[in-house]
Symmetry: C2
Subunit: 816 residues, 2 copies
């Protein structure tokens, strides 16, 4: 591989657009960045090689990734030239994020690094610290990370570069996002589908993404698929993805510089032409956006071979090409020759600062990719203009009545949030926006769509702001990119399938945790999930659609960034959603049903309840403020209804029983205040749940989470939790609760079994309740739907329905 | 859309290969399957429409998906013709698995359904039951599910049809797997990358996959991307994926039948030609496998419009096209006209059985796709020939010595497992096989690779059995398909990134749970994960690579199917791995490090320990079998080492302290035996952990899992658990444990703080331990690596190192 070619060959740029001075400066930048990258990986002193490298100059533990880095540095240098020449706003997203030293090197060359981290100055001392801190205890991570200026993309986990890049480009019309897609990363599923993001970008309103597929040929130990298919096949694939690909291939630096510069110019010309045409109203079809395929050797410019084995252009250069530079004199000589091959004496002056020739290549101020505010989105973040959610309230004259689709009510408010924030708020969903009852937002916007349309299409438009693709990964990636560049959004998803992005969530939560401790990183808007079509109302889709475990997954992350809300009704959902859209630096998980359901609280009550996050519902309690016999706790809309119905049944059987009814909206209130910022103090918790009375808790998800959250509590041993225990199929809504024993009858039995003074006097009640469970089974198998007394149950009918005090029960009523 | 075309047009089959009789029979089958599908969705009686449909014939809750179903039925009919004509072994994988009624209908037409479920007979009574049970309480799920004969693919969660299909085809040279890819599903990441599976199939040794991309145009509420890009772009995409695509497009049944039959013939001819050429040794290049694009209307043959709105060919036919057939007389008439349009009187005889013309279309016995043993893999499953793992043992003369890479030892055994089972065992990994130290298997096989090769490539071959692609999704999907068709495998993965397949794991675990209760489903080999490169040894890749939470995710699933093992050393790992490869119907999670680590148990001891799953290590204990002062528990290789070192420190300070050392291999032993089949009884647990003494537990993962597993235990309140708490970065290995306070010094402090008689006499020890933590911090920041006393620590040196009884501590030695 010695040729550089740009394809299609008719670009005619072999001579190249760079004059000798430009070529020299670009190459100098590249050599400087490569030098600094190798230095970071290997050295802890003697950064300018003023003396031959000695063993003690080399770090004892060599950790880092060289292979991808020279390619990243190469592109960086060329992007800088383009930014200068075209006065661009540009961001750089690095899919192969383990190439951390490259981005750090460029940030240092641009001066940004020293501005942010003043001890890493642009001189010999700073360079030594720059080298030493890399992958070193107390230093910086080896990957592109939150600590890296100019980054919004960690890159430790692969697959999200393009979706992040598009998320950054949306609603930023002046921004060009250059996105390096590694050829390893390109094999991941999330990346493979994210190419289709180009059907969701509006050239009038949005910025552009320039994908650069970097074929350096190898992963950790294997060749990459895309580097090992014929050129024509790769070309077809990328055209099939909707792109216009240009190939730059080779390893001779001078030739490659000319070829890449010419290709980059051509791509940026095409992007500008598309945008100008679109913004003049002259573009009718989806444009074919340009992209670049850069085929260069892995570990380019590194040692060609070592001990007779190929290193450059091989998987052997993936990480540290040789790890024994401290102990092996010959290898240390290889290192020295390698570093000197960049001719550092031409790149840095006697103080260690980059020479002016290099400094002249990079743009100034916030045009530097390492300093762009787009990559520190909190700098650009504006509050949302939020309409008063209280005015969208559902009237609730009596608690436990009505039949309201909570998410549909939320949709009316979101419609106006959308209308009031026409360029800083988007909604994301894997084709579930309407299924999740949020369709009112389509009154003021459309679904984003730049593929073909046909008559009869419903609310599809290039400038729509509801983003739907059947890929949770792409939705999540877009939203993360949008948030990280200073905007706001909401991801609505079927509860079970949010697990598809468990791992992406991990990375975002880790990003937030780390940035909390980086002063120059400004807070960004929270990542808001609305999980609906939840486990209790997936009776029609069955077992595969039933999984409430995302909450469990999320609470493993740092308490500082995780919030979980289970609003029991529409007014609480409005209050919670308003709170979440105002918040910063969190992941907010809201779980709320979309099916018609009872409403409990007026808006004033809802605000009071959600502000506390947990509280007693006096109207459902019979303890009259005194110490109760039992606490009925609940969290989640369906469990709340079942717990209420159980309270009703119990009251019918045992009018003297003192039941305290506690509803939890903010799940983290259950946790100890030493564990979570929202946690209740021990005294407050005990005041609610008592110190020794039985607590029967009906929970939306897997029951053990409640135990986990409460295990330090005084009364924990008396907590008896019901929730989803992986029982389900296609059945009726109520039967789902019965299968998992979180239904009203089983909850009432639980109370009877745990209140000592009821145990011996309640044979009739227990028998009656068990009979109801059998009657339910028989009824649904015959009729295919729930019994009317279940379907029609309301708190208003409490005590007046078929369940009432029977003579038998009354005579058995317990003594105090 | 009225034309049927096969592209490329030179197929010249517009006239079509079907003679009038064949055409009539295929169409009859299709109509019958469609009729039965609609009947399942809507009716609970009057299955043969002997009388006009009355309200009470219609189910009260209508649940199901019509839109995709007629297309699935269409293909099924054509595949049956091909099976008969060519004597094929064929499987049918349905990506859009919510089209459940279609597969059930075909299984009933083939007689399989009645053979398995005798009450669903092939007569009117059986048909009524067939209709009623669908999406009905006590009946069957609405999706293709474990209950569906002929299925290995649930399809509730989208994205895995192709990877499952390839998994089924591997090592089944006589099998053709027809895989329907829905155009909704095609937008998911996992599906988008799984097209590249064609670079990992060997036409000599493996069967073939025939992908059928079904463009019916709409998802729940939106058009699909692939249906809305130009034909040429779609063609390029599929060619870019390495396929040779043929398009069949239209909606006129007769024309479509001819076109599809011709195209299917052509594809099967091409497949046969490829295989014959390959098997004759004449194929040198990767073949371009054929595939079909079927473009047909969503809800094909259903109502064209309803109340003036388009239904057929629109998203409105996705689920139940109209849900009020019970209450709306006009709509009930639409239903009746729709069902009668299939002319049921021609399809079923007077008893309700399919007419002979239909019965003649399907193959017999186990060639029926609904009865193929390939889709009930347990029928084909053979035990692995497993070499005696004990003979791969690492010698351990003294516990807590040595420096062995446990997974490398495992690799020597796996090498021979691979050699002994040359066609029923494969290993899967996202490019991490060698990184995970399993490279010895490459002594006896290669990495599967049918893309281009170049000189210097390392162990790449078309017939390799180590499957590596940088897609956890594809690895998981391949392995699941391989297991479900009766073979064995192992998935090795970086611990953090196994979360990528959380949601796939969910579906497989649910599949296993359901099949446990289906007698005709035979047990399959367990799904074995080897999670290595784990949280405690990702010090070099940093925070993004640190997540031990997959265990937490997994234990939310049914205890019957989940097993978690944390072997502390190589011999235990061998013993555990042997056990897992012999097991059936489980998901086994093995977490084991790949870095050089101490070894503790001889093989005999390891077998004894792993058989119990949990046990006291007497050599590390000082309680001499009596009631201890404190229990030091541990699970996981790194926590075990730290706990041992803590025991050593404590012994140095407090020679009289009675420490019991308990190691846990089988994590589920901690749980109550009422909760998990592996759970210890209360008595056995108390015998190990005491009823009231403090327990300091060093755990591999998030600490709360140990609380969750033990919260019902007598002594739970005295459990103090250390584990990963989301603290990490690029640092030293030991510092990772310090950051999370699971290191030896902190563990020793924990003991001191919790053993009452130590609390007041241990000021010196506590101070000394805190000093060590400070010394550690200072040392790593200066040297970049851990202190020699940490790096070199072995149990052999216990009591002889820098930590010993000091005079001060000795004089403070506590009283009993």
């Amino acid at each position: 591989m010695t040729d550089a070619t740009t394809l299609p060959s008719e670009t005619g740029t072999r001579g190249g657009p760079l004059d000798p001075d430009e070529l020299r400066r670009i190459d100098a930048w590249w050599r400087a960045a490569n030098y600094l990258s190798v230095g970071q990986i290997y050295l802890m002193s003697n950064p300018l090689l003023r003396v031959p490298i000695e063993a003690e100059h080399v770090k004892p533990r060599l950790l880092g990734h060289w292979g991808t880095t020279p390619g990243l540095n190469f592109v960086y240098a060329h992007l800088n030239r383009a930014i200068m020449a075209r006065d661009l706003h540009m961001m750089y997203i690095i899919g192969p994020g383990h190439g951390g030293p490259g981005l750090v090197a460029s940030a240092w060359l641009e001066g940004t690094y020293s501005e942010i981290y003043s001890h890493i100055s642009q001189d010999e001392e700073g360079m030594e610290r720059l080298f030493t801190q890399f992958s070193f205890p107390g230093g910086i991570p080896s990957h592109v990370a939150p600590e890296t200026p100019g980054s919004i993309h960690e890159g430790g986990e692969l697959g999200y570069s393009l979706s992040h890049a598009y998320g950054a480009a949306f609603d930023n019309p002046d921004l060009v996002v250059a996105a390096i897609v590694g050829d390893g990363e390109a094999e991941t599923g999330p990346l493979a589908t994210s190419w289709h993001s180009n059907k969701f970008v509006d050239p009038r309103r949005d910025g552009a993404v320039l994908p650069i597929l970097h074929l350096n040929g190898y992963k950790i130990a294997n060749p990459t698929v895309l580097a090992r298919i014929p050129d024509a096949e790769l070309d077809a694939l990328l055209r099939g993805y909707g792109h216009n690909p240009y190939v730059v291939s080779g390893d001779d630096p001078a030739t490659m510089h000319q070829a890449f510069a010419a290709t980059l110019d051509r791509c940026l010309d095409e992007i500008r032409a598309i945008q100008e045409q679109a913004r003049a109203g002259e573009l009718t079809e989806r444009p074919r956006w340009p992209m670049i395929v850069l085929r260069s050797p892995k570990g380019w410019t590194g040692p060609d071979t070592l001990d007779g084995k190929q290193v450059e252009g091989s998987w052997r250069s993936h990480q540290v090409p040789f790890a024994d530079a401290r102990t092996n004199d010959a290898h240390r000589t290889v290192l020295e020759d390698w570093m000197r091959s960049y001719r550092p004496e031409e790149l840095f002056d006697s103080t260690g600062a980059p020479v002016p020739e290099i400094a002249r290549l990079h743009p100034k101020g916030d045009r530097r990719m390492s300093a762009t505010p787009y990559a520190n989105g909190g700098l650009l973040l504006r509050d949302l203009r939020l309409p008063d959610f209280a005015s969208y309230a559902v009237p609730v004259d009596e608690p436990g009545t009505g039949a309201v689709e909570s998410t549909r009510v939320l949709g009316t408010w979101l419609r106006d949030v959308m209308a009031h924030n026409p360029d800083t708020f988007r909604m994301f969903s894997p084709d579930e926006n309407n299924s999740n009852r949020l369709q009112d937002v389509l009154d003021v916007t459309n679904r984003t769509w730049d593929a073909e349309t046909v008559p009869g299409d419903d609310h599809l438009a290039r400038d729509g702001r509801v983003m739907e693709i059947l890929s949770e990964h792409t939705c999540e990636g877009w939203l993360e990119g949008y948030l990280l560049t200073g905007r706001h959004g909401l991801f609505s998803c079927y509860e079970a399938f949010i697990h598809v992005i468990d791992s992406m969530f991990n990375q975002h939560a880790k990003w937030l945790k780390v940035t909390d401790d980086i002063p120059w990183r400004r807070p960004i808007a929270s990542l808001n999930y609305l999980l609906t079509s939840h486990v209790w109302r997936q009776d029609h889709n069955g077992f595969s659609h039933q999984d409430p475990g995302f909450i469990d997954h999320a609470v493993n992350k740092k308490a500082d960034v995780i919030r979980v809300y289970l609003p029991p009704d529409a007014n609480c959902l409005l209050s919670v959603a308003d709170h979440c859209l105002r918040s910063r630096q969190y992941v907010n998980i809201i779980v709320a049903g979309k099916q018609p359901a009872l409403q409990y609280l007026s808006m004033d009550e809802a605000i009071a309840h959600c502000t506390k996050g947990i509280g007693i519902w006096p109207w459902a309690s019979t303890d009259a403020g005194a110490e109760p016999d039992v606490v009925l706790g609940c969290a989640g809309d369906v469990p709340t209804m079942e717990a209420l119905a159980a309270a009703d049944l119990l009251h019918g059987f045992f009018p003297d029983l003192k039941v305290r009814f506690v509803n939890v909206v903010d799940l983290m209130r259950l946790q100890d205040d030493r564990e979570h910022p929202h946690g209740l103090s021990a005294a407050d918790f005990d005041a609610l749940f008592t110190r020794e009375k039985p607590v029967i808790f009906a929970y939306h998800g897997y029951p053990w989470l409640i135990h986990r959250l409460t295990y330090r509590r005084t009364n924990h041993d008396n907590f008896h939790v019901r929730g989803y225990k992986e029982e389900g199929t296609t059945t009726t809504p109520f039967d789902m609760t019965v299968l998992n024993q979180v239904d009203r009858y089983n909850l009432a039995i639980d109370v009877i079994d745990r209140v000592p003074r009821l145990r011996d006097v309640s044979a009739h009640a227990r028998e009656w309740l068990r009979g109801k469970l059998i009657e339910h089974q028989r009824y649904i198998r015959e009729h295919g739907e729930d019994m009317p007394e279940i379907k029609d149950w309301q708190w208003r009918s409490a005590g007046t329905g078929p369940v009432a005090v029977t003579e038998d029960a009354a005579t058995e009523a317990p003594e105090g």
